[in-house]
């Protein structure tokens, strides 16, 4: 199972990577939205975890790019408090799930398993 993680906070990125590797997933990391869109173009992922606010391209732009590419990979959005409107927009654009920071990595893992199943 190949998972793409797009997040500009290094600590969150590393923690998710660590957690996923431990569970046996293959992980690709990106630190900005543009890099994430490039990776999505190149490879077919089983799941994407993306922060909503990132440098160069936001999570919403990633969803929009995926739509344009005709890819319907499940995507979990990570948002901060107070981004409710963006989360609603993300769901309208096809996001599968979202988590608000601060979040529990264990809960994220449960949601990943549910989505990939």
């Amino acid at each position: 199972m190949l998972v793409l993680v797009a997040e500009d906070n290094e600590l969150i990125l590393r923690t998710i990577e660590h957690k996923l590797l431990k569970e046996g997933y293959e992980v690709v990391l990106t630190r900005n939205g543009k890099e994430a869109i490039d990776k999505i173009k190149e490879e077919d992922f089983d799941l994407i975890i993306s922060d909503i606010m990132m440098p160069f391209a936001s999570g919403i732009e990633i969803l929009s790019a995926m739509k344009a590419m005709g890819k319907d990979t499940p995507i979990i959005m990570l948002s901060s408090m107070g981004q409710e409107e963006v989360v609603v927009e993300a769901f309208d654009m096809g996001a599968s799930d979202f988590m608000v920071k601060p979040f529990s990595p264990n809960e994220l893992l449960l949601r990943i398993k549910r989505l990939i199943k």
């Binding site: 906070n9 290094e10 600590l11 969150i12 590393r14 923690t15 660590h18 957690k19 431990k22 408090m81 107070g82 920071k101 601060p102 979040f103 529990s104 990595p105 264990n106 809960e107």
Partner: protein, 355 residues
């Protein structure tokens, strides 16, 4: 008397100047090397710290305790400070079990003392940093100290103390509003509102009191609080604020009334419209724009003709358009007896909306 300089004196002067320049270059070089090394150190240390926190979140705290290499880094004050900052930041990113592990790291490596040291320093940025760290790590022994720091003369310190109090005590932590004379900035209001999860049982009497504050920012904050918690029972207090001396308070009162809207809100705002300043009138029209209430139509048509302010006319026309009265506006511009300036305004609105 002419000043005479010997060749020897000139030579000595040049040597002295040259020596000073060389000294300056050496100092700048040494400082740059020091800066470079500390940047490099910080970069390397940040990686070590992030790895440690990630490992602890995933593997649990026990392994972290046995890490002698990491413990050796902790002998440096700069490293400890960086570690503390990273723990606070990770605490804002994670919850549940992961957050618990972050607390374990904080207590296990005895960082609490470092944060306390900052509280006792004189520099405001250090004190506020200490408050943030202890609050973030849920060290509730700081609460008695916060009661004093909330009156600290420095803005950075008292703002952090206010935030910490609300973080620990929720709504009850807002007691500082009773006598608050300094402005509560918009950013601080957002922070406080975000950290409020619920209200105490006697909230209404406190809210009533704070709404009578002479500090407009306190009143605005409480209005936002009412909106956030949808406190319908507080509508009666908000209505009286429509006559408040501060325009900002009146504008926020209108926004709050809209969020608690009932069947009397629109008629109340229409009734109060005439006695308000243009800024407040604009806010009322913005509310009408959002509410899309048909009861405003006659009033809006009146404003097009009666109100002298072009901004009010434009907004009134916009709301009429949104309410589906496009044809009415089109008929108006065809009327040859129409006031030319109103004609232009309506044409502008129609053009904006159609395009």
């Amino acid at each position: 008397m002419a000043l005479e300089i010997t060749l020897h004196e000139l030579f000595v002067a040049i040597i002295v100047v040259l020596a000073l320049v060389v000294c300056l270059i050496v100092i700048v070089l040494l400082y740059s090397i020091h800066k470079y090394r500390s940047i490099q150190n910080n970069k390397a240390w940040t990686e070590i710290i992030e790895r440690k926190i990630t490992d602890t979140i995933i593997e649990g705290y026990e392994d972290a305790e046995k890490d002698a290499v990491f413990a050796s880094y902790l002998r440096s004050d700069s490293f400890r400070n960086l570690f503390l900052t990273a723990l606070v930041s990770s605490n804002q990113s994670f919850s549940g079990h992961a957050q618990h592990e972050v607390y374990e790291l904080f207590h296990g490596f005895h960082l609490e003392a470092d944060a306390w040291k900052k509280i006792n320093r004189k520099q405001p940025y250090l004190i506020s940093g200490g408050i943030l760290e202890l609050t973030s790590m849920r060290v509730d022994n700081i609460i008695p100290m916060l009661l004093q720091l909330v009156n600290h003369p420095d803005k950075q310190v008292y703002q952090e103390a206010q935030y910490a109090l609300v973080n620990f005590k929720g709504f009850d932590g807002l007691f500082f509003l009773d006598n608050l004379e300094t402005p509560l900035s918009d950013w601080q209001q957002i922070r406080l509102l975000k950290s409020m999860k619920d209200l105490s049982e006697d909230y209404e009497s406190k809210i009533e009191k704070w709404l009578q504050s002479n500090n407009p920012t306190v009143v605005i904050f409480v209005l936002r609080l009412i909106t956030q918690f949808q406190l319908l029972s507080c509508s009666k207090y908000i209505i009286s604020l429509l006559d408040n001396a501060s325009i900002s308070v009146r504008k926020q009162a209108i926004i709050s009334l809209q969020s608690l809207e009932d069947d009397t809100t629109i008629s109340l705002l229409i009734e109060r419209f005439q006695h308000q300043s243009v800024e407040v009138q604009i806010q009322i029209l913005k509310v009408f724009k959002l509410s899309k209430d048909a009861d405003t139509i006659t009033f809006l048509k009146d404003q097009l003709f009666v109100n002298v302010d072009a901004r009010i006319k434009i907004l009134s026309a916009e709301v009429l358009f949104i309410l589906g009265h496009e044809n009415y506006l089109k008929e108006l511009i065809l009327d040859e007896n129409m006031n030319p300036s109103l004609n232009l305004i309506i044409k502008h609105v129609l053009q904006e909306k159609v395009w």
